[in-house]
Subunit: 496 residues, 2 copies
């Protein structure tokens, strides 16, 4: 028996699983619970199924259901088990975010032990626009013990023998089993003719359920897979990255090399008079460490031609963000020119902290096809960079990049902290407000400073217009921007 | 009694109407039907109400419900009327699109006559990001006759006497009334103490239910209101528009003047060597006709500085879209520089036909805060321009702009038809594919040419990445881009 996910069009459209046996579709299950939160819009498109079944394979009873179905304690996994199913096959396209793996394992283990049923939780692997499906398929036995944990971020064929007699025994001995309502007994569909049950020996599992990789290793792998799949599935061969010598572009280049190989990653260094000597050194050091090609196009002549063209209008006014943004947009235009000429995909380098408060230039450093660290807060950008250097056993990202003070280098002596609080102060406020929907008062109660919190919330609210025009990026937190957080631009509501 | 819409937070969050009497909230109604299609996401946020009531005002029975509720024939308007309500107050935030007004009137008239009830359909007025709420409130009597039609796109206070005895009489004489199920009788809430019903004389209505304005007048008004509210509600004083001498930017400037007044609209003309003498004349003629200020910044010097900077990379390659886009992006950068320096909002000038097939430069002509004709197909751009000139009784938009062949003027002798089918051929394919979800075969059956249709569908599918980064614009068709059409970028599905 094979279970294959598809869209079933009958009198309506269903998110469906085909039960295939002997090259024929012998039955179709319709997903009963349709997620309509976070990145999901299933209620827009699908009708919900209204019944589940139990399939008879020889004398083994199997229940099939889909993704969201298993998150409901009284959903089809429960009713199928009560109707006798010994194994539940739950197929998934469940997107990754930090902390989800743990939560999933805990929940599925409980579902299995609650209903004394073996659960095979099977998840897709790969990137699709902003989402990364992380694999990490799981099999739990009837007591909620982990029998198998599949690879994260990689496909895998799992073959496993299951001890069905153990399910029978556990049910006999489960004190709560006798109280269960059997009125929900599901329709039983015979897939394979009955044969005698072969008395099974106690199956030995060689599996070592060691802990999965660390949270930061997970995030790094998600970003690599998300980048690789976006680039390749959209038919690009090469990517180009504007390298500034800062940590964001350094991490993006490193991730791109891990995703695509060094030959496919092109660096472009576009210095201005405000670019420091250290930045130049760090760009070329990084390129050398990664083994990637880097080209240089100074932007000052172009910048001067803009200033000349605008001089009649700007003459009596002191330089401000207008002049800063012109530089960032010249760089955006040059990257896009290379993209248009050579077919390279531009990877942008903005992180979530910047995207949150609008510390980025629309059509400037925000210009590009895919924003791979768009959902990565700056403090995690540092952690990932350190992790990657540790894994390499050397400074792949030059060590100075990890400790020098962040700067956009768009005016003399500029520092991020001229405009923003320190990232260690900023990131917790962003997490509370954006990911956790906390109110101003709650954020203050978390220990954040009043004036700073007001200013940060203001910046977040006022920069929605920028985010609306930002390229897609890879979701790694419980709430990313984009479809995950739908917010108006025109909005007089203030939370303090 | 006043009815006021609000969000009610109790044990969950409800889309609610407060029934206010004597400065007190005497009751709260929770919306029962939550739209989750098109631009609506209500199921993400709200819990649905599960009962409706009838309010007693003296001896008059009134039912209150919200927006989507009235679109269901068996919804609360029906059950409230069956329980005795003589008047239904239905409050709305119902966004405009072409053809909706007619459909609404027909439907509400039928609801009124179906249940022999007076219906007051009350709709919000104003722009909110991509949506325009068009007012156009309606009152129908118990026979489905229109008693009053409120202004479109403008606020209005309506005071009307209603003939409640006519409701009683119609119910007595309605042959189907006796068959009706009264089991659904709603809870009755007393709002105002009972008083004797004053025997009403036959009320005379002075209202002349003349036809509302034409479809194109409606669209024009929607664009004006949507532009005005986006600009003013977001705190901008002035807008700036890149004027090319083409019809799109000419219409955008005209709409902006109608929305904001000529003092608040700034034109920027940015010629290149490919800009024709006619374009220059048409820009200045338009500015004179509209009475707006126009500045000129030639882009050739800046363009040459880019070519010089890129010469080492582009030297052996013939010019292509890369050089064209550089010019468009220089213009985008100049417009944004003016925006950053003077606080002007950039209105972009792309129409729906271009947005559909990706015939626009990301970060170039697509750069700006609000894309007011983004949902207007090119053929309607012409109609609106002609309409506005007719209304003005003179050529506000220079006559030549209306008949000269469209060109982006990014290379010598360029015409839109070098790349695209004629707009009269293109627009029907776009409408069928984008607004009506028609399949390739259906579109061919509509009489569209096979090869052309394939090419157009390909262009639509492949330019999703551009639309994802486009500024918001005003929805005027049944399906706009943005939240109304949620489409993946990474997508191998092909419809032919």
């Amino acid at each position: 028996m094979a279970v294959v996910g598809f869209v079933d069009r009958t009198s309506d459209i269903y998110n469906a699983a085909a039960i295939v046996h002997n090259k024929e579709v012998v039955h179709v299950y319709h997903k009963m619970y349709l997620p309509n939160y976070s990145v999901f819009d299933e209620m827009r498109y699908f009708q919900a199924g209204d019944k589940s079944q139990v399939y008879k394979l020889g004398d083994t009873l199997v229940g099939v259901n889909i993704c969201e179905d298993i998150w409901y304690p009284d959903g089809p996994s429960r009713t199928q088990a009560l109707a006798g199913a010994e194994v539940i096959v739950n197929i998934n396209a469940s997107p990754y975010h930090i902390g989800k793996a743990d939560f999933r394992e805990r929940m599925i283990s409980t579902r299995a032990s609650d209903s004394s049923v073996i659960i095979a939780y099977l998840n897709m692997v790969g990137g699709q626009d902003e989402l990364v499906f992380d694999g990490h398929s799981l099999i739990f036995d009837e007591c909620g013990n982990l029998l198998f944990r599949g690879k994260q971020f990689d496909e895998e064929l799992i073959i496993i023998d299951l001890n069905l007699d153990a399910v029978f025994m556990r049910r006999l001995h489960d004190p709560r089993r006798r109280q269960e309502v059997f009125a929900l007994r599901e329709e039983t569909v015979s897939i394979v003719p009955v044969h005698d049950r072969v008395m099974q020996k106690k199956v030995k599992y060689n599996f070592n359920p060691s802990l999965p990789c660390s949270e930061m290793e997970e995030v790094y792998s998600a970003l690599v897979l998300g980048t690789r799949d976006y680039v390749l599935k959209n038919g690009f061969k090469n990517v180009v990255i504007g390298l500034s010598g800062g940590i964001d572009s350094s991490l993006v280049a490193t991730l791109a090399v891990d995703a695509l190989g060094k030959e496919r990653v092109k660096g472009l260094f576009m210095p201005s008079p405000y670019t420091s000597g250290e930045s130049r050194e760090d760009v070329f050091m990084l390129a050398e460490n990664l083994g990637i090609e880097v080209s240089e196009i100074p932007i000052d002549d172009i910048f001067q031609s803009y200033l000349k063209a605008l001089s009649a209008f700007f003459k009596d006014l002191s330089p401000n963000v207008a002049e800063e943004n012109i530089q960032a947009r010249i760089r955006g235009n040059l990257l896009m020119a290379m993209s248009n000429k050579f077919g390279w995909l531009v990877l942008t380098t903005g992180n979530k902290s910047e995207m949150s408060v609008g510390y980025a230039t629309l059509y400037g450093d925000m210009a590009g096809g895919f924003a791979i660290i768009k959902d990565v807060p700056k403090t995690i950008v540092y952690k990932l960079s350190k992790l990657r250097n540790e894994k390499a056993g050397k400074d792949l990202i030059p060590e100075r990049v990890l400790w020098k003070e962040p700067s956009a280098e768009l005016r003399p002596e500029q520092k991020d902290t001229d405009t923003l609080p320190a990232y260690e102060v900023l990131d917790p406020i962003l997490k509370a407000y954006i990911e956790e929907d906390r109110s101003f008062d709650e954020i203050i109660n978390l220990g954040c400073e009043v004036e700073c919190t007001e200013r940060v919330i203001d910046m977040i609210d006022r920069s929605e217009y920028k985010r609306r025009q930002s390229p897609p990026g890879i979701k790694i937190t419980p709430r990313a921007f984009g479809r995950d957080r739908r917010f108006p631009i025109t909005n007089k509501y203030r939370s303090y």
